[in-house]
Symmetry: C2
Subunit: 380 residues, 2 copies
């Protein structure tokens, strides 16, 4: 999934799978290992040290099996034992990629991998080990909790689910904590930041390294508006804003030991979640002081000037992209202007404005894992 931000409230969702990195490497090294996201005991898919992925799907009577990952995908070839095998044409970008199979014209998941909610369905996932993967690795450090809560929502007439990250010391004392409300992208849900994003491990590691002061993260479902493919043009933020601002925040402040004021409350989101973050924070500057847009738009001086109190109330504007997004978008330009130029303008106007680029990643989760790592260190 790639979503390019075209401006406030308008997202053009292009269905281009993650691109293959350009390479002159002619030789594929024979050091393939099972992907870390495989189901227990599953040998395939595999990844080699160069980032090539190799697939093996059993379907003895099928006529065609294709892996929908990377531009053009990978067409598998049938072997004598009834398995379909194939290797990507080039190395994939480091990090997490969604994919699925097309088997005789039908869309299925790879039975070898764990599933991750994206593109409004549970998709297969594969992980290309990143050179900097240590920051989201499961390490022998004190671990926080990821708590599933069910909070009452009058506006939607149901109990809604959210996940709350609490830091390792939360249950040890009486301390109150700042809170980050962190949103997923289009087609994803409240499981994304823990499953694909490793938000909890990123926090555990930053806290263990003494790089941040602990805070809570709250993750809930942001597609309350029943957004369908192509429907973002008529996107109305109000239903989700009501759930988040009028229902979830009061519930969190009543049920967790929070610092329940504007200066200790942040909101960030990736892609569509960035768009939601911008709309909700601009309309609620009495509630949020720190704002993060990860591959999800930017703030211009126009935004600042049309929002009373912006300069006084906003303590951080963080905008990030994967470098491949900027490369791809560069030629066509960004609606509303170059996001880095905008970030510089805000900084020159005296606003704490930070622009971050994740190197060699696209509109995918490694960009956002890195964005969270950077953003977290600037908070509160």
């Amino acid at each position: 999934m790639k979503c390019y931000i075209m401006g406030l409230g308008l997202l053009l969702t292009l269905w281009i799978a993650p691109g293959l990195a350009q390479t002159d490497q002619p030789t594929i090294k024979d050091d393939f290992k099972p992907s870390t996201l495989n189901q227990p005991g599953q040998e395939y898919p595999q990844v080699n040290s160069q980032g090539y992925a190799r697939f093996r799907i059993m379907a003895p009577q099928a006529d065609s099996v294709k892996v929908n990952l990377g531009l053009g995908g990978t067409i598998l070839t049938k072997t004598e034992d009834g398995a379909w095998v194939g290797t990507t044409a080039g190395p994939l970008d480091e990090g997490f990629h969604y994919y699925h199979l097309t088997v005789d014209g039908g869309v299925f998941n790879d039975p070898g991998t764990l599933n991750f909610y994206g593109s409004v369905r549970w998709e297969s996932g594969i992980e290309i080990p990143a050179h900097d993967q240590d920051f989201y690795a499961l390490k022998d450090v004190p671990h926080g909790q990821v708590r599933q809560i069910l909070f009452p929502s009058q506006s939607t007439n149901t109990s809604r689910r959210a996940f709350v990250y609490t830091p390792p010391d939360y249950d040890k004392g009486k301390k109150h904590y700042p809170v980050l409300y962190l949103q997923h992208g289009w087609g994803e849900d409240e499981t994304a930041w823990s499953n694909q994003g490793h938000a909890n491990l990123i926090m555990d590691n930053l806290i263990a390294d003494g790089k941040i002061k602990p805070f809570l993260i709250v993750m809930t479902y942001g597609m309350t508006n029943e957004i369908k493919f192509g429907g973002l043009r008529n996107f109305d933020i109000k239903p989700f804003q009501t759930v988040l601002v009028d229902e979830l925040i009061p519930y969190i402040d009543a049920n967790f030991r929070t610092l329940a004021d504007q200066s200790h409350r942040a909101m960030a989101g990736l892609s569509m979640g960035g768009m939601e973050t911008k709309m909700i924070t601009m309309a609620n500057l009495d509630k949020f002081s720190h704002i993060g847009l990860f591959s999800g738009g930017a703030f211009s001086m126009d935004d600042v000037n049309k929002t009373p109190g912006f300069k006084e109330k906003v303590k951080l504007v963080f905008v990030s992209f994967g470098s491949r997004e900027l490369e791809n978008r560069g030629a066509r330009g960004f609606w509303g202007g170059d996001p880095k130029v905008n970030a510089d303008a805000l900084r020159q106007a005296g606003i704490n404005s930070v622009f971050f680029v994740s190197q060699n990643t696209a509109h995918e989760f490694l960009s956002w894992r890195r964005s969270l790592r950077e953003f977290a260190q600037l908070l509160f």
Copy 2:
């Protein structure tokens, strides 16, 4: 998956999918609705008011599509639009069923449904509404939390995952709580009791109805021994017992407000988890007072007599089965004797022994949801 308990430490795992209930009903009612376990927006699979299931799989170029659910499964028929459709030959038992597809000889999940970990893979799931489903429904009552924790395990040299249910009032006060350690079955994992079992909703509803005193439930992975299909004959309880008794229990007692003594600690499990429960509790009667085996064996007077202190230390022995398990097993008999006769013998010997039968269910999760509901009301 059906597992029949053959006796202590020996499980014969038979790969028979859930059976179709016998019926004379010739007319299939046309009131099919999407299963409650479908992925968002997915119309199929569907279930009607009689318990028939109807499937629809897009695979235009496939030669054969079969649904592996029920004896013999359901062979789908290709329609003009490229979809394969079919309806079960009879109604399915009420409750949750695992299944998967065979598409041109390959095993895939139904892209319409959520996935559930069983049979050592993430499987498709379908829910036949039960007449008594209210006890595990999501209702407008105070909800507890399901907390993912990562606890250090020296014996396995990693951080291991567990889920902890905390009741709605846990964060409101200073109270300390009893703890139930609750195990999944063979091929499942620590997600099963929350996802398939709705353990948290069962607890929320029992607490809201004033039927139980709140307690914690701890759920972790019980297949630390890398049990493969057919490997249970040589099952060694020690690796998991070390994780549970020497590592997890001390971690829980150090990090949650527990009543950390034998009289406030229970263990229960389903199928293989029942076998593990029996082995671990009998070897650790100084740590556990309440024992539950759900479709996972029984206690005989031989067990009692060979275990010093059993009568004094054990406050509850709860044994349950689905009625179809007893019917199916009846003719062949149970290794170690009829479990109800055994339960009666224990009661006559002065032990608090309870035998529960879930009506019209087999070796499946509705038996175990009901077992948890009954067991919870007898605890502490």
